[in-house]
Amino acid sequence: MEELHRRYGEQAEFLAVYVREAHAGDGVWPGKFTKDDAGTPIHQPTQMAERIGVADRCCEVLEISMPLLVDELDDRVGRAYSGMPDRLYLIDHDGRVAYKSGRGPFGFKPGELEQSLVMLLLDQCQ
């Protein structure tokens, strides 16, 4: 996604939304790879400050250069968009959904989003 941001950052607004942890250490399927600095698996944040802390770490490790918005603890945005565990949307100039990826992890296809974005830009050229 960072590559797409670099490539199309001038032509589109990119926003990352940090939602609840998909595979927190205290969940049903703890993530095997993602651990905090002390080497312990990341647990589901229960306080907003904690959630912002994990989002910060995520931003740093994944080198995210676009704005990373942190969803509220009640997951209101994640729920409204069915954004958990991960998902992509393309919203046109009128605020309508032009592309909606399948549910992650299987539906998370940045290349598919890129094609829709390119065609939306082509549509604008007309």
């Binding site: 940090y18 399927w29 993530g31 993602t34 992650g104 390119v118």
Partner: protein
């Protein structure tokens, strides 16, 4: 439309009575209850919603008389609306997922609520606009001259022509299969799992694979990419684990999100530095917006 009031009792049940027979029974009950209540809710909505038919005019009364299905004694008059409603309920994602879980399907592309992406744009849109000679391929000169760079971005296989294959994102598409294979090889090399291979990680992998030697043989490569599997732990979710994942939301949100062409729900959130608050609707009109939802794990 779909009821979720069973969640608390459902969680207790999962934790205290984890016998597979009970789970199957529970799933079937939940599925049946969801179907019945959804049917009732959908019927109620249909009768009171915005689609309530206008008072019958002379014309519509006439058509009723002419249409045998509209007569009170015709079974289709009662069955058709129920089939339509049943179809709508079957297509509700939560019902699809519950049905897949009841069949013991592990999460996989195309199973349950794991659908393919939907787009306003695609191969059909492109050919209708730009395939001037109607040969089912689009060459660079069929696109506006200022779109040369965009053409290159769409030409996924880089063969200089746009074809239907370039827009196939299904799991059976060769490009998608190749990407999945590349990711499988990429994983063991990406030590810090940040999605980028540095020269150092590449070098580390070489050292690991070469076992201190100066070169890697195909066998070394295989051994490094596919180390012996540790004793089977509980990596593969059990049916009970899948159900728990469904309840805790680890299998995905029970909500469906806005559909294609619908207005995106507005929101305002602060960034992780607390420096900026961004309201989505304030960005409209300037540029299209790409939303990327995700977490660390």
């Amino acid at each position: 439309m779909i009821p979720f009031s069973f969640s608390s009792a459902f969680c207790d049940f999962l934790y205290y009575a984890p016998h597979p027979m009970h789970i199957r029974l529970l799933l079937r009950t939940v599925l049946a209850a969801s179907l019945l209540t959804s049917l009732a809710a959908a019927q109620e909505q249909a009768s009171s919603g915005p689609h309530t038919p206008a008072p019958a005019t002379a014309q519509s009364r006439k058509s009723k008389i002419e249409n045998p299905k509209s007569r009170w004694f015709h079974p289709r008059r009662y069955l058709d609306p129920y089939w339509t409603l049943a179809d709508r309920v079957r297509q509700a994602e939560i019902v699809e997922m519950l049905a897949a879980l009841a069949q013991g399907s592990p999460p996989a592309p195309g199973k349950g609520w794991f659908h393919e992406g939907e787009s306003r744009y695609g191969w059909q849109w492109l050919t209708q606009r730009y395939d001037q000679d109607d040969d089912q391929t689009i060459s660079p000169n069929e696109l506006p001259s200022e779109a040369a760079e965009l053409f290159a971005r769409l030409d996924r296989d880089e063969d200089g022509l746009l074809k239907a294959d370039d827009f196939d994102w299904s799991e059976s598409a060769p490009f998608v299969k190749q990407s999945a294979q590349a990711r499988r090889f990429f994983g063991p090399l990406d030590d810090d799992h940040n999605g980028r291979l540095t020269r150092e990680e590449w070098q580390d992998f070489f050292e690991r694979a070469a076992l201190g030697g100066e070169a890697i043989t195909p066998d070394d490569l295989r051994a490094a990419l596919f180390p012996p599997e540790p004793a089977k732990d509980d990596d593969d979710p059990t049916p009970l684990g899948l159900l728990k994942g469904f309840v805790t939301g680890e299998l995905g949100s029970v909500y469906e999100g806005p559909a294609l062409e619908q207005r995106a729900p507005d929101f305002e959130l602060a960034d992780n530095h607390g420096r900026r608050r961004i309201r989505l609707s304030e960005l409209y009109g300037k540029k299209p917006v790409v939303l990327i939802f995700g977490s660390f794990t």
